[in-house]
């Protein structure tokens, strides 16, 4: 679960990381009200999960209530434009009004989980305010890293080492160990996968602030933090995630592409390999779908309907490796699902293997379906059928 900036900053505030004073606002009226009541120079920022707000004109300045209303209306008028990672863009539902800081210098710091080291890694760079992926390409030597021993945890020397290692401006040095200590507390307490301050701002009068906040919480740890349920409900699911959730799948178990060969497999690895097999056979994949364990009739029916109703599939390739599931049970599930569904019918190609696979294939053939023996054979047939329709 990725948090919006205002939510991340709320956690920062609780952890003792300095953030600019400000107010979360739903509409232009709220912004104008706040600026009216609170004298100062303000920045109004769209609250979205996508990056690139500045370039998209979704961060603007306001010194008066009228200006506040006008820039808020401008920001809210259009959604975030699409980019490569978010081809659908993102609607803007709220804003953050924040004190405009007299920023002198910017730096970067973050804590993430390093899979290879199996440890939290703290990263600091003197290139703040830039996309960190770009920094790691252009100036990889500028990113100082420290792998934390979880049995020991964070200690201030780590912050000192990193500040010197990243050659931060001297103004940051004294304050970085405390900021990182608070950031580590937050990372640990909430079971975060990523906490990032970009930029960490140094003001003309020598104060340090988190000017932006990026927090990714571990979905598997949310059961420990029921207080986030309200935020979770408010977060935007993309269209694929919403469709998956409505069909009773995990939100990462379904994703659509532009093609005509619908797919379903059990297990993410096999589902990806199934897509690769369709592509190898010369077809265009309509979707990724991991049905998980247990392909009973209701589950199969929901998945079939999801693919038929939301993608351009003209054929549905089902690839089930039974393993411990019995092939005859899966076959009955598929036959029942097709009898029960009221959605439009497209041809099914079914590759079914595992215990009792012969019996399973016999049941399918009797119901007029096309069972095949291998994944390659199934992919080839599915591509042929999609081309013919």
């Amino acid at each position: 679960m990725n948090l919006m900036e205002y939510q991340g900053k709320e956690l920062f505030r609780r952890a003792g990381i300095p953030v600019p004073r400000g107010q979360h606002a739903i509409g232009a009226h709220d912004v104008a009200d706040f600026v009216e009541r609170t004298v100062g120079e303000w920045v109004v920022k769209a609250q979205v999960l996508m990056g690139g707000r500045g370039k998209a004109g979704k961060i603007k300045f306001a010194n008066t209530a009228d200006e506040g209303r006008r820039v808020a209306e401008e920001i809210l008028a259009t959604p975030m434009p699409p980019n490569r990672q978010n081809p659908a863009g993102e609607p803007i539902k709220s804003l953050l009004v924040e004190e405009k800081l007299p920023i002198e210098k910017e730096a970067y710091c973050a804590i993430a989980i390093d899979r290879t080291a199996k440890k939290p890694v703290i990263m600091v760079s003197r290139f703040g305010g830039m996309d960190i992926e770009e920094v790691s390409e252009k100036h990889p030597e500028s990113i100082a890293k420290f792998y934390v021993d979880t049995a020991i945890g964070y200690s201030p020397f780590i912050g000192r080492e990193l500040a010197f290692g990243a050659q931060l401006d001297p103004g940051f040095r004294k304050q970085l160990p405390a900021v990182l200590g608070s950031l580590y507390d937050l990372f640990f307490r909430y079971g975060a996968k990523l906490v990032e301050i970009n930029p960490l701002a140094l003001t003309a009068d020598g104060r340090v602030y988190a000017s932006d906040a990026k927090v990714e919480l571990d979905d598997d740890a949310l059961f420990r933090h029921p207080e986030f349920a309200q935020w979770q409900r408010a977060l935007p699911l993309d269209e694929d995630e919403r469709l998956a959730a409505e069909s009773g799948l995990g939100i990462r178990n379904f994703r659509r592409f532009g093609g005509t060969v619908g797919t379903m497999a059990n297990g993410a690895g096999l589902a990806m390999a199934t897509m690769d097999a369709v592509s190898y056979a010369g077809g265009e994949v309509a979707n990724f779908l991991d049905v998980g364990g247990g392909a009973n009739a209701e589950r199969v029916r929901k998945c079939y309907e999801l693919v038929v109703n939301s993608t351009g599939a003209t054929v549905f390739f089902v690839n089930i490796f039974g393993g411990i599931t019995r092939g005859d049970e899966v076959a009955r599930g598929i036959v029942d699902a097709m009898r029960e569904t009221t959605s439009r019918k497209i041809p099914l190609v079914i590759r079914l293997t595992g215990t009792n696979e012969e019996e399973g294939r016999r049941i399918l053939a009797q119901a007029g379906m096309t069972p095949v023996e291998t994944m390659d054979e199934g992919a080839k047939l599915a591509v042929e059928l999609s081309a013919a329709s």
Binding site: Q85, E133, G269, G322
Partner: protein
């Protein structure tokens, strides 16, 4: 020989009286695994339907049975606790089947249990065909032989093994290392073990997109195992970038993480990469013939 698991391994099951635990315990016993008992707090002194002793604590189970291995089937909030309990009782080898364990729990476990080998979590376990099975793999598709297999996925592993067995190629040990961000045992950890196993004369590595475990494995192979016949497969060539690959993962690993990066790394290390799982047996036979 084989790695991690042989005829002398004594296995207990944590969560043995739960639905999953009891079902798979039965399968492990039927496969010939030396399961010596299990643990469910509060049910100590009882027997399972199959006649296995149930203990209240792992310590009790170890004292009574001399258990060396554990297979964990407890719900996600209790998985780290189960691993710590096993470690404290002196268990040297743990398989954690549980899916959905918080990633910070695993950071804590792997950082503070030196000397205990952990497979998983979120994995199908491992099998040394003909000797034993610790986990949920379908034993009947495996065949004893000389090919070691390491995989991040469950059903894809079965797909590949099925192909090997149908081609008459048996396996020494097959390990499903799990798909979570922080796992106890990586490809490289497995490669180190296979390198010293006299039964294993070839390897298959089934990787997928995300992380850099495959790249690390390729680097290890180039340096330490240049002569061993190895074939790889990488799932997810058609997966879109950006969605499942987290921001932080991409940073730490630079350009690593894509299927192409992994395929390139394997090929640079002299490891042929199959375009489809069905090509693996043929590629492996060719590599083994060339190595002779």
């Amino acid at each position: 020989m084989s790695i991690f698991l042989d005829k002398n391994s004594k296995v207990i099951v944590q969560g043995i009286t739960g639905a999953e635990g009891s079902y798979h315990t039965d399968r492990m016993v039927k496969y010939g695994t030396n399961v010596v008992g299990g643990v469910t707090p509060g049910k100590g002194g009882q027997k399972t339907a199959g006649g296995l002793s149930v203990f209240d604590t792992v310590k009790d189970a170890v004292a009574a049975t001399g258990a060396t291995h554990t297979c964990i089937f407890v719900p996600p909030p209790f998985a780290a606790d189960a691993l710590f309990e096993a470690y404290d009782a002196g268990i040297g080898f743990a398989v954690c089947i549980t899916e959905g364990v918080p990633v910070h729990d695993m950071l804590q476990v792997v950082g503070t249990t030196p000397g205990m080998r952990i497979i998983g979590p979120n994995c199908p376990g491992l099998i040394s065909p003909g000797k034993g099975l610790v986990g949920i793999m379908p034993g009947h598709i495996f065949k004893e032989g000389g090919v070691g297999l390491i995989s991040r996925s469950g059903t894809l592993t079965y797909e590949v093994v099925d192909g090997l067995t149908r081609a008459g190629i048996g396996q020494s040990t097959c390990v499903g290392i799990g798909g979570d961000p922080v796992i106890g045992t990586t490809f490289v950890d497995c490669l180190r073990e296979f390198a010293n196993d006299p039964q294993t004369d070839a390897l298959v590595i089934c990787g997928e997109i995300g992380g850099s475990d495959e790249e690390d494995a390729a680097a290890y192979i180039a340096e330490h195992l240049p002569a061993l016949p190895i074939v790889a497969f990488v799932g997810g060539r058609n997966a879109p970038a950006g969605k499942s690959l987290g921001h932080a993962g991409a940073i730490i690993s630079g350009t690593f993480g894509t299927a192409q990066s992994k395929i390139d790394a394997f090929r640079a290390a002299g490891v042929p990469v199959a375009d489809r799982p069905s090509e693996i047996p043929e590629l492996l036979v060719a590599r083994m013939a060339a190595a002779r």
